[in-house]
């Protein structure tokens, strides 16, 4: 027998003596911050200004449920911040205004949607820290990725579209399947509207696509996507067609989203992929945006998939 002993009680001190800040202390939230609560929000606005005369709205919703596990932490803590910095640095569109959302499951979570304001600079990082990582989700194989669609369609007002007829961008990021529908009850409970009936995901997509280019990023490292990669992908493709992006390395989320926007804006796919300095990034991006083609028309009102 050895001296190497480890008693169950040792875990307590082991957990306490962590050198770095833990996820729990970085995201101290024990509930949804009221600034991020969509309930009763009339409009989140993205307005042109002297500094940002030609603003473009970008919404990024991140799955923060349990199946995403530590990836949710990594993305929320670092990934979203990097993404905002990259978008601001590369400016794939003019004067980006970014709104971030946390996505959960309307059936199981207390806060299935959390939304920041539209921000034009890195100040958004402070709002990201407020996102509550509920780590919920449930036994169904989908998360409520369409809740931010509903919110964006009816509760955002964006100058790029309203003044200049140019669509904004909406990305959802997660590892599970899209839900079939969004119950009216859930909309009432979490957003405060009183719709007459449930919405199917196709209906919601049509609604949100009026103002936004809609994409979904599958986090392939997430536990659900790893268990059933083909099922997840095919259900998203049924809904979104080519605008489904496979993300093989979650640390490259920023690069992949920026590249997807660039390709959609008409830049050459291969050139976009090669523009990233490390070959690893180029490879991940190449794989992710390989199926995308430029938007056929950036004129408002055209919805084509």
């Amino acid at each position: 027998m050895g001296t190497a002993r480890w008693n169950p009680s040792d875990w307590t001190s082991y957990a306490k003596s962590t050198a770095r800040k833990t996820t729990d202390t970085v995201f101290a939230s024990r509930g949804m911050d009221k600034d991020l609560d969509p309930l009763g929000v009339v409009m989140r606005e993205s307005r042109d200004s002297d500094l940002n005369p030609a603003s473009t709205a970008i919404v990024v919703g991140l799955d923060v449920t349990g199946s995403m596990g530590m990836i949710a932490d990594a993305l929320a803590r670092k990934g979203l911040g990097t993404m905002v910095e990259e978008i601001l640095a590369r400016k794939p569109v003019s004067d980006p205004h970014i709104l971030c959302a946390g996505i959960g499951d309307v059936l199981y979570d207390r806060a299935p949607l959390q939304v920041t304001q539209f921000e034009a600079d890195i100040r958004i990082a402070r709002q990201l820290e407020k996102i509550w990582l509920e780590k919920g989700g449930g036994g169904n194989s989908c998360e409520s990725y369409t809740l931010p669609w509903y919110f964006a369609a009816l509760h955002t007002s964006i100058d790029c579209f309203e003044k200049r007829g140019k669509k904004g961008y909406l990305f959802t990021v997660g590892d599970e399947e899209p839900p079939r529908d969004l119950p009216a009850k859930a909309i009432a409970r979490f957003i405060g509207d009183r719709p007459q009936r449930d919405f199917s995901s196709h209906e919601l997509l049509t609604m949100v696509s009026r103002m936004y280019h809609v994409f979904h990023v599958i986090v392939e490292e997430g536990s659900h996507a790893r268990r059933d990669p083909h099922g997840v992908r095919s259900r998203w493709v049924d809904l979104l067609g080519q605008r489904v992006i496979g993300l093989s390395d979650h640390t490259k989320l920023a690069e992949v989203i920026v590249s997807a926007i660039e390709v959609n804006e008409g830049r050459d796919r291969d050139r976009v992929a090669k523009s990233w300095s490390s070959w690893q990034t180029a490879l991940v991006v190449q794989r992710a945006v390989g199926g995308l083609t430029p938007s056929p028309s950036s004129v408002a009102g055209v919805v084509r998939f």
Binding site: M1, G2, T3, A4, R5, W6, N7, P8, W11, Y14, A15, K16, S17, T18, A19, R20, T22, T23, D24, G66, G69, M70, I71, D73, A74, E221, S223, R226, H250, T251
Partner: protein
């Protein structure tokens, strides 16, 4: 340059606690601090006590038993690394002014906190039916590494984000499934606070980095080639996974098998193997113990290493059965036939002879208990195992005496 084509090998012939550490240190002192001690089975559950001539004492678990004498350690791919316990041991050694050089094969399996938790939970659940495990997750590590989705090797510790994801998958998906498979599904929820603790996970990621900082993984195998090697076995032949009494065994080959594979890869030509036994038989933990005695067989037995723990209980004693010893050695040596290019010379070492404290030696041979003088006992032992010129050990730090 002189090429070392010969290596020394130390193998326990019982259930562990034979004195392998002491014999390894003895070899290293003969060779010099150029020696490298190779761990070829087991993991951090080993506890090899060495007392240096200057009085420093250490119980080696991860680090090879030659470290007090300045020898480096090579953790081969047959060794299961446990970063948490490795760092604990480094701290203990640092307090004794020892900073060991440790090489690690990057493909070596690595224990996670979750393997340790599962091991402890299951052993607790077994109650009186426990298998005698140390509770540090050694066997659980090997079990988990069979599944590529959850396998973890030293090379996987390099990228903290990959490591974090792997650990997260292990605690979320593997752990509940494994506990269910073991028939104790309810224990996952009962211990949910441990599995869900991000603090434990993050501390471990930090420990993984410290483990890599404290060891040499790059070109480790090349670094030990042609250096004088001492292969240090852990546990003993009677705990071998294939030859011991299942389920009260350890999940490794405790004998020559792994040594032969490594020696073959390293291009060695000769192995000088010493099988070590105490003058009596001991066992720590549950499982059969032939010729068991209710109390210490000899008055002089003092053991400060084997203090009782929750998982293994106290040390148990028995008379030595020479036929059992001979059979174990014979079976183990039969593995050498697979490698005809290797010459294997075997010898026997008997330790703890001082503990007879002047009493007559007692042992079993041919199913009958014998009482004899120490000399007659040694002669009977060498005859029973068919090896002559045994090494005899008296006392914790005393020199080993060759015996004609």
């Amino acid at each position: 340059m002189h090429l070392n084509k010969t290596a020394r090998v130390v193998i326990g012939a019982q259930f562990g606690d034979e004195g392998k550490g002491r014999l390894t240190a003895h070899h290293v002192m003969e060779i010099g601090d150029d020696a490298i001690v190779v761990r070829f089975n087991g993991g951090a559950q080993a506890g090899h006590t060495v007392v240096a001539p200057d009085g420093r004492r250490h119980v080696f678990s991860h680090v090879g038993s030659g470290a007090l004498a300045g020898a480096a350690t090579y953790l081969s791919r047959f060794f299961v690394a446990n970063p948490i316990l490795f760092l604990k041991e480094l701290d203990l050694l640092a307090a004794k002014d020892v900073t060991p050089t440790v090489y690690v094969d990057p493909v070596s399996p690595v224990t996670t906190p979750y393997d340790m938790m599962i091991n402890q939970i299951v052993e607790r659940e077994r109650g009186a039916g426990r298998h005698g495990s140390c509770g540090i997750g050694f066997g659980e590590t090997l079990e988990r590494n069979l599944d590529g989705r959850f396998a973890l090797t030293v090379a996987d510790l390099v990228d903290p984000s990959i490591l974090t994801n792997r650990l997260d998958a292990i605690r979320r998906e593997y752990a509940p499934a494994r506990l269910t498979g073991l028939g104790v599904a309810h224990t996952f929820e009962a211990n949910a606070a441990l599995f869900r603790s991000d603090a434990i996970l993050e501390h471990y990621v930090e420990d993984a980095r410290r483990f890599l900082d404290a060891t040499i993984t790059a070109e480790a195998r090349a670094a030990i080639r042609d250096r004088p090697l001492v292969f240090e076995g852990a546990q003993g032949l009677l705990l071998d996974q294939d030859r011991g009494c299942f389920p009260h065994v350890t999940r490794s080959n405790t004998g020559l098998r792994n040594v032969l594979a490594l020696a073959d890869e390293l291009g060695l030509e000769r192995l000088d193997v010493t099988y070590v036994t105490r003058a009596y038989l001991t066992r720590h933990g549950a499982g059969p113990l032939p010729r068991e005695r209710p109390k210490k067989p000899y008055p002089g037995i003092v053991d400060t290493t084997n203090v009782p723990n929750e998982h293994q209980g106290t040390l148990r004693f028995a008379w030595l059965d020479l036929d059992l010893l001979g059979r174990a050695l014979h079976e183990d040596l039969s593995d050498a036939a697979i490698y005809p290019a290797l010459t294997v010379n075997a010898g026997l070492a008997i330790t703890c002879l001082d503990q007879l404290d002047g009493e007559a030696a007692r042992y079993y041979r041919g199913g009958i208990q014998h009482r004899s003088s120490l000399e007659t006992f040694v002669a009977a032992a060498t005859e029973a195992v068919g090896l002559d010129r045994p090494l005899l050990g008296f006392g914790p730090s005393g020199e080993l005496m060759p015996c004609g």
